[in-house]
Each structure stands twice: as structure tokens, then as C-alpha cells.
């Protein structure tokens, strides 16, 4: 019987090794898999490369992982926020590498990884610092930058409900990076509010088919943020 349900967040992330590249879902705190990140801090893996839209908020979640000095490098679109003081401090002290990627390229590069696309010509960032020394090409009069996939060893994402086949449904804008990160990682791990029986999810509503998910762990309802 296919059973992707892990018994705990700790068990779900137990094989993450030092140096792993980990895609971490969420936009700000919406969709951020706090239970999995907390388990990762507890687990102790270090020298990690984190791919996530932001670089942590306040002192919890990604910020706590950063504060514990487990992250060598972060690939993100928007590290600087009003509550990103943990990242800001590490960055100014030269204790973390930063690769800033436009938000849409971050998503599309992970989708490309998941979809088996070798590289793609993207108009975003053409003629800017963030295009760096990437190849460019003019196609039908428009200028593009060649972008390569971002693969993850692991993805840690959050969904509303999941089943033992790994099918996921999300909630509102907490969906954000979940589906593309699930595609892009060798091992995609989802924390869900609730595990439901196989067949309980509407097959039309499944936003991440189970083929993209290796492990699911129920953690109960975790609010995105207490205001």
C-alpha cells in the first residue's frame, strides 16, 4: 500500500544532510511550513542552501533557522523586509551568501526543474544587474535572458489537506510556491493541517498531484501569523 504519511515532522525530515539545497515554501508567513522548519532546526543539518521567496520574518521559521547559523546561502527574491533583522544582521556581517532572483524567475526556474526543461529564455531582468553575465538572445524583436532550472534536494511546503498518495489541496494565497517547489525537489515533504482518507479530496481540486510529493505529515492547524 502506498503510504507517504510520516509519523512526525522530525521523521519526515530526518534524512536531510548537511549541505542540502532545500526549497522552502511560503510568501512571508503564508504557506511557510513552520513545523518542518522547526524540525529541521532541531535536526541540526547545517551548511544548507535555502531557496525561498523571503529570508525570514521575525524570529521564527526561516529566521530561526538562519539565526541558528545553519544556512550557508539563500536564494530568494525579497530578503529585505521590516521584520528581516536576523537575515539583515547575518548579511551585513558577511555570514550568509545571497542570490537575489526576480520572483517570477524563481517560480519559473523551479517549474522548469520540475518539468524537465533544460533552460528557457525569459524577458524578466533583461538589461539589469540581476541578469549578470547570463546569455541573452533577441527573439522576434524582444530581448530575453537565458535562465536555468533550480533543483532542490528537498522541498518543505505547507498545504491544507493531504492524503496517503501525497495529493494536496492548499488554502487561498498560502498555495503560492508549494506546487512548483513540489515539482522541483527530489524529495518533497508537505506539512498539512489534516490528513484525509484516500478519495476524500475532490480530484478536480488537487493542486499538487501525489506524484510530486514523497512525504506528508499532519501537524494540525498552524496559523500563518498571529497579527
Amino acid at each position: 500500500m502506498v503510504n507517504k504519511i510520516a509519523e512526525s515532522a522530525a521523521a519526515a525530515i530526518a534524512d536531510i544532510k548537511d549541505g542540502a539545497t532545500i526549497l522552502v515554501g511560503g510568501f512571508g508567513t503564508a504557506g511557510l511550513p513552520f513545523a518542518l522548519v522547526d524540525a529541521l532546526i532541531e535536526h541540526g543539518a547545517r551548511d544548507l542552501v535555502i531557496v525561498s521567496n523571503n529570508a525570514g520574518n521575525g524570529e521564527t521559521g526561516l529566521a530561526a533557522l538562519l539565526k541558528a547559523k545553519r544556512v550557508r546561502k539563500i536564494i530568494c527574491s525579497f530578503p529585505r523586509q521590516t521584520d528581516s533583522w536576523v537575515f539583515d544582521g547575518l548579511y551585513r556581517a558577511g555570514e550568509i551568501e545571497l542570490d537575489v532572483v526576480p520572483q517570477g524567475n524563481l517560480a519559473e526556474r523551479m517549474r522548469a526543474a520540475g518539468a524537465g526543461i533544460g533552460a528557457f529564455y525569459c524577458p524578466t531582468g533583461y538589461g539589469t544587474l540581476l541578469a549578470g553575465d547570463r546569455e541573452t538572445r533577441s527573439i522576434n524583436g524582444r530581448d530575453y535572458v537565458l535562465e536555468f532550472p533550480i533543483h532542490g534536494d528537498f522541498a518543505l511546503i505547507k498545504a491544507l489537506k493531504g492524503d496517503r498518495w501525497g495529493n494536496l489541496v492548499y488554502r487561498k494565497t498560502a498555495r503560492n510556491f508549494g506546487p512548483v517547489m513540489a515539482m522541483a525537489a527530489k524529495v518533497a515533504i508537505a506539512q498539512v493541517d489534516e490528513v484525509v482518507e484516500l478519495g476524500a479530496l475532490d480530484p478536480e481540486l488537487v493542486a499538487t498531484p501525489g506524484i510530486f510529493i514523497q512525504r506528508v505529515v499532519a501537524v494540525g492547524i498552524q496559523a500563518a501569523k498571529v497579527a
Binding site: P102, T128, F177, A223
Partner: protein, 218 residues
């Protein structure tokens, strides 16, 4: 002459958004445009974190932190709304499906180059978010900003000195002094606030600017 305040610039932008348009309002100043759209109008707001049909802020105490906008503020979803993931959301931009995006700016050049993500300061922490995708993706990119900096420096310029967000992407600029089109001939003022001399506008603009008010009226 009374410069427009931020609400007035926002209202001026809103006035030009056609009914039924799909619009993305950038974080910061452009967010204010939403509040100036009258209730009887139907404009469909996109927020790049995965929502089309964004509604106003929720009542105090009714915040849902799984339902936020690009500025990570709680919002609501209107009837007719839909949720989607980031790759789909940015396809809407990059694929040219949004009619208009409204962005703030540090500088805009007379060829439509936009600088709004990075001051270039050595100690600044870079953060771009969706700005580059928006700037080049929407059918029309409008900028909303003060005409000059607090220190009196030009923001409409020949060449941006700050790092670019996108090249040749801005089509119109709304400032506290004027509405300016970016055309193949450069800046063209199509509207000035009451009491402002065109010569004064020229002085406050760091690149050649044409008076196109007649053209519009004609």
C-alpha cells in the same frame, strides 16, 4: 500652485484605469490606488502571490493570514476571485495578460527605463520581489511618484543612475505635478496641475519634455 498629495495622485491614476481592466498595483504608493476606485466600478486586481479578484482590506479582527497581498497585508477575495500558484501568477504578468501595472519609482528615463528596486548604495540589501516581472510583463506599465526627490533631485531623467528594474518599459508617469507619456520622442506632458507653468515643469524634469497638452485636447 498646489502639488497633488499622494491620495490625489492615486485618484488621478484610478481615473485612467478602464472598467474591466486587469491591474496589478505595486507595493508602497501604488497600493493607495485601490482605495480611490469607486465601488460601482469593476476593476480586477491581481496580486502576484496568487490571487485575481482581490478585494479591500478585511475588517479589524477578520484578518486571514493565508489571504494576503504582495505587501503581505491581509486582504479579501471578491466573488469571482481565483487562487493559483506562483508560476501561473507570473505567467499572467510575463505573458502580457495584465492590462496595467502601477509601480513606484526612484527614476524613469525618457526612453522608459525604470529604476525602482535598488538605490545602488554599497551597504543596501538588494530585494527585487516581483518588480522586474511586473515592469516588463504588463501591457502598460505606469509609474506613480513624486516629480522630484525630497532633496529636489530629478526623478525623470535622461539616463537612470540607479540600477534598472526594466528597460524601455514605462509608458506613462503620474506625478504630483503632471501626467507624462513616454513616447518615441521622449517625455510628453499631457496634463499639468493647475497653476503650474510648463517652463517650471521643464526645470523640474531632468530630460527634454514636450508640451503635448494640445495634442490630447485636440
Amino acid at each position: 500652485m498646489q502639488k497633488l498629495n499622494r491620495e490625489q495622485i492615486a485618484a488621478r491614476v484610478a481615473q485612467d484605469i478602464p472598467d474591466g481592466a486587469y491591474v496589478n498595483l505595486g507595493i508602497g504608493l501604488p497600493t493607495m490606488v485601490a482605495n480611490t476606485i469607486s465601488e460601482e466600478r469593476e476593476i480586477i486586481l491581481h496580486t502576484e502571490n496568487g490571487l485575481l479578484g482581490m478585494g479591500p482590506a478585511p475588517a479589524k479582527g477578520a484578518e486571514d493570514w493565508d489571504l494576503i497581498n504582495a505587501g503581505k497585508q491581509p486582504v479579501t477575495a471578491l466573488p469571482g476571485a481565483s487562487y493559483f500558484h506562483h508560476a501561473d501568477s507570473f505567467s499572467m504578468m510575463r505573458g502580457g495578460h495584465l492590462d496595467i501595472c502601477v509601480l513606484g519609482a526612484f527614476q524613469v528615463s525618457h526612453t522608459g527605463d525604470l529604476a525602482n528596486w535598488h538605490t545602488g548604495a554599497a551597504d543596501a540589501i538588494p530585494a527585487v520581489g516581483g518588480a522586474m516581472d511586473l515592469a516588463i510583463g504588463a501591457k502598460r506599465t505606469w509609474v506613480m511618484m513624486e516629480h522630484v526627490t525630497k532633496e529636489g533631485h530629478h526623478k525623470l531623467v535622461k539616463t537612470c543612475t540607479y540600477p534598472l528594474t526594466g528597460k524601455a518599459c514605462v509608458s506613462r508617469i503620474y506625478t504630483d505635478l503632471a501626467v507624462i507619456d513616454v513616447t518615441p520622442r521622449g517625455f510628453e506632458a499631457i496634463e499639468l496641475i493647475a497653476g503650474l507653468d510648463f517652463d517650471e515643469l521643464v526645470r523640474l524634469t531632468g530630460a527634454p519634455i514636450l508640451d503635448a497638452r494640445q495634442k490630447i485636447a485636440a
